[in-house]
């Protein structure tokens, strides 16, 4: 009955009016961020971090606010998928496949409500899963030494690289860019600067928030300048929103099944929510067979990816909290938040700061109900948000990014570097080089090197020490499989193209 007493502790933290208020604010902001095309969960959370930090919120409050934003963004992503046929974030891509046809058939309201309920089921079950699984995984994590951690980081980069790009060399290159940047700065053991090129500003290293905001938010501006913001008008009409009970009931097993699939996909370090929604959709499509009519606007085709992607969002929190290895781009950003707040994720977090973990879990449970309320009866408000034109939205996002980074460090050098990362992000995305491994590299580079160094010190330079335990060997095998397998499975795993009018 450990869990119950822990939950009681969590709800004690989460049910204070202030925390509740933050959770509701976070849900609202998150849904907007998710809904707006060009402002996904990763950059939404990223530009909010500096601001949260300067507001001086304590660790629990900041974490509650940001994870509420994170969950909210996962809910919100479906709105633009269904109404605009533009995924608000990457995992919502699969929702466009059936959501947009259903909306075009005059059932936009039904599609929104059904996907909202599916999101709720996925996210709720995943939060329960997180609650049950995370403490036991945290106990396993105590068995991890430097060799195991090094292998785990390899696994994260390999599976992320394997899934994120169509070209292994490019995703490995992206990871190297990130890791290479992470090495810049004063070395912790010798106290001497490394790879700074003599620039004093680089002695502190490159702040990952600068890189994240640059790569995600500033790069987005360049894409909009290129396209002149043409692609954002609502093509379907939304009349009355009613609750399609029959569709919800008929998709109940779909939702349950895909929640499990999504949750498992989310737990894999590096794989994340995109994989979750993809696998969920594909599983249901093959269960339904060709008669299922997937791709023509069937309820199951909407419920499956939404339950899957929200479950994966919850699942991705498991490795992030227990091992400190994020499962997706957005959890990487959340990890950055934890580090900024001076919380070290990992097994000790569960024993030393239980109020943070269980407060977080309890607020996630609460946030889910808030989000269900916001996304079903009040969905029309968020549809209005979609009408904000790109020529106001993007300059606004840019200015918020600048102020956020500026208020964090007050340094023009960081701002210039952020612009540089924006340009880099644009070029990388144009060349189909994924940017998430870059972020992960900057974020985890220091830890990864630390693990390697400690392993080398312990073994007196013996390389075989890295493969000295069954856990480490298992992780290396998984890493190599995760990196190599997608090359051969490319034909099977081909992503379906979004429907064009």
């Amino acid at each position: 009955m450990d869990i119950l007493s822990n939950l009681a502790l969590g709800f004690g933290v989460a049910l204070s009016p202030y925390t509740m208020f933050l959770a509701v604010c976070g849900c609202f902001l998150g849904t907007i961020i998710g809904a707006l095309p060009g402002l996904g969960p990763s950059n939404g959370v990223a530009i909010l971090i500096p601001i949260t930090f300067t507001l001086g919120l304590d660790a629990t409050s900041a974490l509650v606010l940001m994870t509420a934003v994170y969950y909210g963004a996962m809910y919100g992503g479906r709105i633009s998928s269904i109404l605009l046929n533009i995924p608000g974030d990457e995992p919502a891509l699969m929702t466009t496949l059936d959501g947009y046809p259903m909306a075009k058939a005059g059932r936009a309201g039904d599609a929104l409500v059904l996907s909202g309920v599916a999101s709720f089921v996925g996210a709720f079950l995943a939060t329960i899963g997180l609650m049950l699984l995370a403490p036991s995984l945290a106990r396993v994590a105590f068995l991890f030494g430097p060799a195991e951690y090094f292998a785990l980081y390899m696994l994260a980069f390999c599976t992320l690289g394997g899934m994120a790009s169509n070209n292994q060399a490019k995703s490995a290159m992206a990871a190297c860019i990130g890791l290479g940047i992470a090495m810049i700065g004063v070395d912790s053991s010798s106290g001497l600067p490394r790879l700074t090129g003599g620039n004093l500003h680089l002695y502190d290293g490159v702040d990952f928030l600068v890189a994240i905001v640059g790569l995600f938010a500033i790069a987005e501006v360049f894409f909009f300048i290129e396209s002149h913001g043409k692609e954002s008008s609502i093509g379907v009409k939304l009349d009355k929103v009613t609750i399609p009970w029959r569709d919800i009931w008929s998709t109940r097993w779909t939702m349950l099944r895909t929640s499990v699939v999504g949750f498992v996909a989310g737990i894999l370090p590096g794989a994340g929510a995109s994989l979750g929604s993809f696998m969920a959709y594909m599983t249901e499509k093959s269960i339904a067979g060709p008669k299922g009519g997937f791709g023509t606007g069937v309820p199951k085709g909407i419920a499956a990816p939404e339950a899957g992607n929200n479950a994966a969002a919850g699942g991705a929190l498991v490795p992030m909290l227990t091992l400190g290895v994020p499962g997706s781009g957005t959890t990487a950003v959340l990890l950055a938040l934890l580090v900024t707040l001076n919380i070290t994720p990992g097994p000790t977090l569960f024993t030393e700061r239980p109020e943070v973990i269980w407060g977080l879990i309890a607020s996630l449970l609460i946030a889910n109900f808030v989000l269900l309320l916001m996304n079903v009866p009040m969905v029309k408000i968020f549809v209005k948000v979609l009408m904000v034109p790109a020529w106001i939205l993007l300059p606004g996002v840019t200015m918020v990014s600048f102020v956020g980074i500026f208020s964090l460090s007050g340094s023009f050098f960081d701002l210039l570097m952020m612009i540089g990362f924006g340009v880099l992000g644009y070029i990388l995305r144009k060349l189909d080089i994924p940017t998430v491994p870059v972020i992960l590299g900057i974020l985890l580079g220091g830890n990864m090197e630390d693990a390697l160094r400690r392993a080398m010190t312990l073994s007196d330079g013996d390389v075989t020490y890295l493969l000295s335990s069954p856990i480490a060997i298992g992780l290396w095998v998984a890493a190599i499989l995760g990196f190599v397998a997608p090359m051969f499975l490319r034909g099977v795993l081909k992503k379906p193209q979004a429907i064009t009018d």
């Binding site: 190297c176 490394r194 300048i225 102020v403 023009f412 189909d432």
Partner: protein, 163 residues
């Protein structure tokens, strides 16, 4: 094709330079001779291999924007860079209004709405940051001396400013 090859070549040169810099990393008694160099050398090595792969097995060419869009994006970079260094000497409102206005114009080229967007965003965000969120180091406006402005611009030139 060509894009991947060019990027691969640039990446290869960077990786080799990175490797060269990594072998020159200073060490001392506390850190040991090779530990601070080990991981950077590994990264440089892997990056060089990936760069070679990109050069010899390039993907199809991405659809790059037309020349006009490139100029537009270049202008945006310059505007943002100037904005970054002007934020301190001039305060928040004026640079933000100008920068947001220009960006807005670049996304949707209509002068009137762009100007309104710039001024509106500047004032609205200032109110939000200053009064609703209470961020400390946001100042409405400052009147700089010419010397301060000159300094700010010098910071844009690498290796000159920045002290």
């Amino acid at each position: 094709m060509a894009s991947d090859r060019i990027f691969g070549l640039v990446a290869l040169i960077t990786a080799v330079a990175y490797l060269a810099a990594a072998t020159q990393i200073q060490t001392n008694l506390f850190s040991g001779e090779y530990l601070p160099k080990l991981f950077p050398i590994l990264i440089g090595g892997v990056a060089a291999i990936c760069a070679l792969f990109m050069m010899f097995r390039p993907d199809p060419e991405p659809d790059w924007p037309a020349a006009g869009s490139w100029i537009n994006m270049g202008v945006a970079v310059v505007v943002l860079a100037i904005y970054a260094v002007m934020l301190k000497p001039l305060g928040f409102i004026l640079p933000t209004a100008i920068a947001a206005g220009i960006l807005s114009y670049q996304i949707s080229p209509r002068p009137g709405p762009a100007a309104i967007a710039g001024v509106g965003l500047s004032l609205g965000l200032f109110a939000l940051f200053k009064f609703a969120l209470g961020l400390g180091n946001i100042v409405a406006y400052r009147i700089p001396t010419p010397a301060q402005l000159g300094d700010a611009f010098l910071q844009l030139i690498p290796f000159v400013g920045g002290h």
